[in-house]
C-alpha cells in the first residue's frame, strides 16, 4: 500500500516534466483534480471525520479569496502572506458558524440549514459592498509576477495544487492517528455516548471546524489567483458548496484518501462533460450526471468508493484470507 502511494506521488510530481505526453489541457485538468481534492479534504475534517454536514463551505473559500485578492490589489501585500490572512479570517467565520451551531446544539438538518443561511448572508453582503466590486465581482489584473502568486506557466499552478492536496492529506492522515482523530470519529458515530464518556465534544467539533475553515480559506487564495475574477454568486454560492461536498462523499467521507479518490473520479467527469456537452448545447448535463451519481452513491455505496477500493486491493495483495 505504502509503496503504491509513494509511486503514485512520484508519478504525479514527474508528469508535467514531459510536456510532449502531457498537454496543457491535461495540466489544467489535473490542477482542478488536485484543487478540488484539497477542498474536499478540508471539508472532510469537519464533514467527514466529525460528521457535521456543513453545506456552506463556499463561504470560507469566498472569505479567503476576497481577503487575499483585496490585500494584494489594494495594499500590495503579496498573496503568499495574504493567503494566511484569508485563512485566518475564514477560520474566524468558521468559529462563528461552529459556535452558533454547536453551542446551540443544532444537529442534522438544522445544522445544514444554518450553514446554508450563513453562506447566503455572506453572498448577499459581498454582493452589496461596493468596495469589493459588488454584484459585478472583483477582478485581478494579470501581471505574471510569481511574487504576486501569478504565473505564466500553468505548471506552477499544477505543483501548488498538488502540494496543497498532498499537504492536507498528510495532515489528515497524521490527525487520524492522534487522539483528536479518534475523538472526532467517536463524535460522528454517537455524540451523546462520547460526551458521556468524557469527550469535550464542543471543543473538538470547534477545532475541526477551525481547521477545516482555515484550510478552505487558504484554498480561496488559489481560487482567486487562478481564475483572476471573483463573483459573489459563484464564490459564495450554494453550487460551489455542493462541488466541495460531493467529492469526499463519493470518494468516502471520513477517510483520508476518500476526497482524493472522489476528486479523481468526479473532476475529470465534470470537466469532460462540461466540455463536450456544452459544445453540443447540452447545458446542465454534467450536473445531471452529478445528481445521478450522488443518488447512486447514497443508495448503493453509502461509505464511498475508497473503502470499497481499499478492501478490493487488500484482497488482491493478501489472498490468504
Amino acid at each position: 500500500m505504502k509503496a503504491l502511494a509513494a509511486l503514485a506521488v512520484a508519478v504525479l510530481v514527474a508528469l508535467p516534466a514531459f510536456p510532449s505526453v502531457f498537454g496543457s489541457y491535461a495540466v489544467t485538468l489535473f490542477t482542478l483534480i488536485f484543487f478540488y481534492g484539497f477542498l474536499g479534504q478540508a471539508w472532510n475534517v469537519v464533514g467527514g471525520y466529525a460528521g457535521q454536514l456543513s453545506a456552506g463551505h463556499a463561504a470560507f473559500l469566498g472569505v479567503g479569496a476576497y481577503t487575499a485578492a483585496l490585500l494584494s490589489v489594494e495594499r500590495g501585500i503579496t498573496p503568499w502572506v495574504g493567503m494566511f490572512a484569508g485563512g485566518a479570517l475564514a477560520a474566524v467565520l468558521g468559529a462563528v458558524v461552529g459556535f452558533l451551531g454547536f453551542r446551540f446544539g443544532l444537529r442534522g438538518f438544522y445544522f445544514v440549514l444554518l450553514t446554508v443561511a450563513l453562506s447566503e448572508i455572506c453572498r448577499i453582503l459581498a454582493g452589496n459592498t461596493e468596495a469589493v466590486g459588488g454584484a459585478l465581482g472583483y477582478y485581478i489584473s494579470f501581471t505574471g509576477n510569481p511574487r504576486q502568486f501569478q504565473f505564466q506557466d500553468p505548471r506552477a499552478y499544477y505543483y501548488i495544487a498538488l502540494g496543497l492536496m498532498l499537504g492536507a492529506t498528510a495532515l489528515v492522515m497524521w490527525l487520524e492517528r492522534r487522539r483528536f482523530g479518534v475523538y472526532l470519529a467517536a463524535i460522528r458515530e454517537d455524540e451523546s455516548a462520547s460526551e458521556a464518556a468524557g469527550v469535550d465534544t464542543f471543543k473538538y467539533k470547534m477545532l475541526a471546524m477551525l481547521l477545516s475553515s482555515f484550510l478552505t480559506g487558504l484554498g480561496g487564495t488559489f481560487y482567486a489567483f487562478y481564475l483572476f475574477s471573483l463573483q459573489p454568486s459563484t464564490v459564495f454560492g450554494i453550487p460551489l458548496s455542493v462541488e466541495i461536498i460531493i467529492r469526499p462523499i463519493v470518494g468516502g467521507a471520513g477517510t483520508a484518501l476518500g476526497p482524493v479518490v472522489g476528486s479523481f473520479i468526479l473532476s475529470p467527469l465534470a470537466e469532460l462533460s462540461r466540455h463536450y456537452f456544452s459544445q453540443g448545447g447540452w447545458h446542465g448535463a454534467h450536473l445531471i450526471a452529478y445528481g445521478a451519481l450522488l443518488i447512486a452513491v447514497v443508495l448503493f455505496l453509502p461509505e464511498g468508493a475508497y473503502p470499497r477500493l481499499a478492501r478490493a486491493l487488500r484482497r488482491r495483495t493478501a489472498p490468504t484470507s
Binding site: L113, A117, L118, I124, N128, G291, I295, V298
Partner: protein, 268 residues
C-alpha cells in the same frame, strides 16, 4: 399569494431539497400546456398536480424508500441529488432563458373599494386557500390522512396498530409533490421563472417553514406573513437587494433560539 404557497409548504412534513425544483417543473408543465395546447394555467394546474403526484410517488418508491432508516444526512444528500437532476433536466429541456406564462386573467384588475387588486393574484390566492383547506380536510378527516399523521407522529406505534407505514409514506410524499406541482402552475403566470429558480424556492420555503414551525398550519401562515413583511421592511429601510438578508438573519435567529419554529411543537 406567498401565504397560500406557505400553507402548502407548511403542512408538508417532509422537508426536502427537491421541493423547489418540483415546483419549477410544475411551472414548466403549465408553460408547456399554455404554449403548445393553449390551456390556461388556472385550468392545467390539475394536470400538473397529477403529473407531479406520479413523479413524487416514483421518487419515493424507487429512492427514498430504500434509505428511510438511514441517518438524516443521507436523506439530505439523496434529495440534493434528486434536486440536481431535476433542475438540470429542466435546464436541458427548456434552456436557461426566463419564461413567463400568459393567462387571460393576468391582464384583468379589480377595484375592491380603495384597494387595487390583480385578478390573477386573487385567483391564485383563492385556489391555494381552497387546496390547503382540502389538504387539511384530507389530513384530519379521512382514514388515509389520519394514518399519515399517525405515521409522522410515531411510525412504530402506527405499525403496531396495523398501518402500512411504507404505503403511507409513499402517499404523503406524492401528495406533497402534487401540491408543489399545483402551486408551481398557479404561480407561473405571476413571476418569470428559469431552471435556477428551484434552488431559490427551496431555500425560501425552508425559511418560511422553519420560521413558522414544521408541520404547523398557523405557523406556516404566520411564518409566510412574517417573512414577506420583514423582507418588504428590509427593502424599504435598507436596500432592495438586501431584503433576502433580513429573512436569512431571521432564519438564523429562529434556528438558534426556537429551532422548533414559532408555532411548532417541541420535537423529541
Amino acid at each position: 399569494m406567498a401565504v397560500g404557497l406557505t400553507l402548502i409548504f407548511g403542512v408538508m412534513r417532509v422537508v426536502n431539497f427537491a421541493h423547489g425544483d418540483m415546483m419549477v417543473w410544475g411551472m414548466y408543465l403549465a408553460w408547456l400546456f399554455a404554449t403548445r395546447g393553449g390551456v390556461d394555467p388556472y385550468a392545467s394546474f390539475v394536470i400538473c398536480a397529477a403529473v407531479l403526484f406520479v413523479v413524487g410517488l416514483l421518487v419515493q418508491r424507487l429512492l427514498v424508500q430504500r434509505i428511510v432508516d438511514a441517518p438524516h444526512e443521507m436523506q439530505i444528500l439523496l434529495m440534493l441529488g434528486v434536486a440536481l437532476v431535476l433542475e438540470n433536466a429542466a435546464l436541458l429541456f427548456f434552456g436557461p432563458e426566463p419564461q413567463r406564462v400568459r393567462s387571460v386573467l393576468a391582464q384583468a384588475t379589480l377595484w375592491l373599494g380603495p384597494v387595487f387588486v390583480d385578478v390573477a393574484r386573487l385567483v391564485t390566492f383563492g385556489v391555494a386557500l381552497v387546496l390547503t383547506l382540502l389538504l387539511s380536510l384530507f389530513l384530519f378527516r379521512t382514514d388515509v390522512g389520519r394514518s399519515i399523521r399517525a405515521a409522522a407522529d410515531n411510525p412504530y406505534g402506527a405499525l403496531v396498530i396495523g398501518t402500512d407505514v411504507r404505503r403511507v409514506y409513499a402517499v404523503a410524499f406524492a401528495v406533497g409533490a402534487a401540491c408543489v406541482g399545483a402551486a408551481g402552475a398557479l404561480v407561473a403566470p405571476l413571476l418569470p421563472f428559469q431552471p435556477s429558480t428551484g434552488l431559490q424556492l427551496s431555500v425560501a420555503s425552508f425559511n418560511i417553514v422553519i420560521i413558522g414551525g414544521m408541520g404547523s398550519l398557523v405557523g406556516a401562515f404566520v411564518g409566510g406573513l412574517l417573512v414577506s413583511v420583514a423582507e418588504s421592511l428590509g427593502a424599504v429601510f435598507l436596500k432592495p437587494s438586501l431584503k433576502e438578508l433580513v429573512s436569512f438573519s431571521l432564519l438564523v435567529l429562529i434556528l438558534l433560539f426556537r429551532p422548533m419554529g414559532l408555532f411548532g411543537k417541541r420535537a423529541s
